[in-house]
């Protein structure tokens, strides 16, 4: 496996971990229960709701960074030859 390939795989693993971490923070019962409170409120919204929406937006940021990394690395310029006619 080439060094470039290893590098891109490692970075992809980091992005997957970061996105899964946001999911973990919203679903793992002890953390989820810690955040499951009304106060502090923001724009009237309970903290529980702000917590989930914020983490979803954070995950969106990670998706964007991952995409930019893949785009910059040329990983999205796949050339696929069609095998045969049906």
């Amino acid at each position: 496996m080439s060094a470039t390939n290893m590098h891109s795989r490692r970075l992809s693993a980091i992005f997957i971990t970061l996105i899964l971490a946001t999911t973990f923070l919203t679903t793992f019962p002890p953390i989820f229960l810690w955040a499951n409170t009304i106060e502090p409120r923001w724009l009237g919204l309970p903290f529980a709701m702000v917590w989930h929406i914020s983490l979803a937006l954070l995950a969106t940021g990670f998706f964007a960074a991952w995409y930019l990394f893949e785009s910059w690395s040329g990983l999205l310029d796949l050339q696929v030859e069609v095998e045969a006619e049906r």
């Binding site: 999911t23 989820f32 009237g44 309970p46 709701m49 979803a56 995409y67 696929v80 095998e83």
Partner: protein
């Protein structure tokens, strides 16, 4: 009069924008639009298919009743998009190289098994039926409500069926995606605007609505909500089952085969979560804000309609079109995926002599027959539709190990996939139907047990048997495509 004219105008618009897409003449074009759809089509294709019309009735009713728990849709959406991002590359490469049209065909290729292709094809069709029925019912309900009973639910369903069947049968994936763009844009722009308008005109704005909730029903602001005692594991379970199952629906997954490039798919993963999170959050904030109001408590599933009707005839008309757009987007995606599966994954596998022309004819007639069958089912069984639709998620999550391990683990084999899928379904639906006490007390939904059953069987059989001989060639295809990627990069640098 204005609401019904708005609904008819929207249906007319869908037919008008599709007038040039109706001449599809090959099965490949019908099923995948010849891999030609760009980022706008894929993004809104996902959103319009994913957003069900019942989200504005049944699911918003759930949030009206129980408050904050409705927000589970937001983290579940992130898991679904991660699954989409992960499966995109290999699905695209094999899909394009071998001219695949459906998720089941992909699994048939990966596991080199016609049996698993037919099995997952049949399962995909069967599990989609309740959603099709529920969305037909929603379309009939929208017409009935918007006309104050003048148009019966049955007549409303017939009007909706006539339009959808026409453009799906004649235009296939191209028509579905073209309609999805209009439906998705409407849902995001007009739909969000009308929800914000109602939030401020009828509920006094975000802060005032939340203050009312805080003083009158503070329990609705946290999990699990008022009048409900459930384990926190339930929260974890519904997010994971919905998140992993959400992208396994053939009508969502098949959009990957329509994309023109891997870049298109991944760009759509960038746009879809932002649009999805913002609009889902808005829908559920309005629904939760309705919780303290007596009329909403009496009719939670009608609450959004009632508050829009209070706001005036135009908000009601725009909202009715919003629900109609969401329903049409889902129904058209389901019909396209089901008809492709019946024709390609079942008929053509059982009889290899079926030509592409005949396959297209079978797909088109499948759309007509399924729609008429669903019309009867939706009209007769509306009371059980919600229960059946939610139950299907317990089956869909069982497919996720078959897809994900198949794409990422060389050792995954057809024996594990078939045995795991069947046993997982038995466990999942067995627990759903028998409802043993531990399901309620521990909080995990039946789908989690089904998922774990499938996963364990696939892992065990994967280590018990050698790697199947055809797998190296498939992995070679991926390496080859990536290798050519490196060449592109090198050329760009030089």
């Amino acid at each position: 009069m204005i609401p019904v004219l708005s609904l008819l105008a929207f249906l007319g618009l869908i037919l008008f924008i599709n007038r040039r897409q109706l001449g599809v003449s090959t099965m490949a074009d019908y099923a995948t639009a010849n891999h030609s759809i760009g980022v706008l089509g894929i993004t809104f294709g996902f959103l319009a298919t994913w957003y069900v019309g019942a989200g504005y009735t049944v699911f918003s009713g759930f949030a009206v009743n129980f408050g904050m728990i409705g927000v589970y849709v937001i983290p579940y959406g992130i898991i679904t998009l991660l699954v989409m991002y992960l499966v995109a590359e290999k699905t695209f490469i094999w899909g394009k190289k071998y001219q695949l049209r459906t998720q089941s065909e992909l699994l048939g290729l990966r596991y080199r098994s016609d049996f698993i292709r037919v099995l997952t094809g049949v399962a995909g069709v069967a599990l989609s039926v309740p959603w099709l029925l529920m969305e037909w019912y929603t379309i009939g309900y929208v017409f009935n409500y918007a006309t104050e009973g003048f148009i019966s639910p049955l007549l409303g369903m017939i009007i909706g069926i006539f339009v959808v069947v026409f453009y799906v049968a004649m235009g296939g994936m191209r028509s579905v995606v073209m309609a999805n763009i209009v439906q998705g844009l409407y849902m995001m722009v007009v739909g969000s605007a009308v929800l914000i308008y109602v939030l401020y005109s009828e509920l006094g704005g975000l802060s005032a609505a939340m203050d009312r909730l805080f003083y009158e029903a503070p329990k609705a602001m946290t999990f699990p909500g008022p009048g409900w005692d459930v384990s926190p594991n339930y929260w974890t379970a519904i997010i994971i089952t919905s998140g992993l199952g959400g992208f396994m629906w053939p009508w969502v997954y098949n959009k990957l085969f329509a994309a023109d490039s891997i870049r298109t798919i991944k760009q759509s993963v960038l746009f879809a979560p932002v649009l999805g999170v913002l609009s889902f959050a808005l829908l559920f904030i309005v629904s939760i804000a309705l919780h303290p109001l007596p009329f909403a408590q009496e009719n939670p599933e009608e609450a959004l309609f009632l508050v829009h009707a209070q706001a005036g005839v135009w908000p009601l008309a725009l909202f009715a079109v919003l629900v109609m757009a969401a329903s049409l987007g889902t129904v058209s995606g389901i019909l396209n995926a089901m008809s492709t599966a019946i024709s390609g994954d079942i008929a053509q596998v059982m009889n290899r002599k079926i030509t592409e022309k005949t396959a297209l004819l079978i797909a088109r007639w499948s759309v007509v027959v399924m729609s008429l069958g669903a019309l009867v089912g939706a009209y007769l069984k509306e009371g059980q539709l919600v229960f059946m639709a939610l139950m299907t998620y317990q089956g869909m999550i069982v497919l996720s190990p078959v897809v994900l391990l198949g794409l990422y683990w060389r050792r995954a084999n057809k024996f594990g996939a078939v045995a795991g899928f069947l046993m997982g379904m038995v466990v999942s639906f067995g627990l759903t139907l028998t409802e043993p006490a531990f399901i309620q007390t521990y909080g995990w939904t039946p789908g989690v047990y089904g998922f774990l059953t499938t996963l364990i069987i696939m892992l065990v059989t994967g280590y018990l048997r050698p790697v199947e001989s055809h797998v190296d060639a498939l992995w070679g295809d991926i390496a080859e495509a990536r290798g050519q990627t490196r060449d592109v990069t090198a050329t760009r640098i030089s």
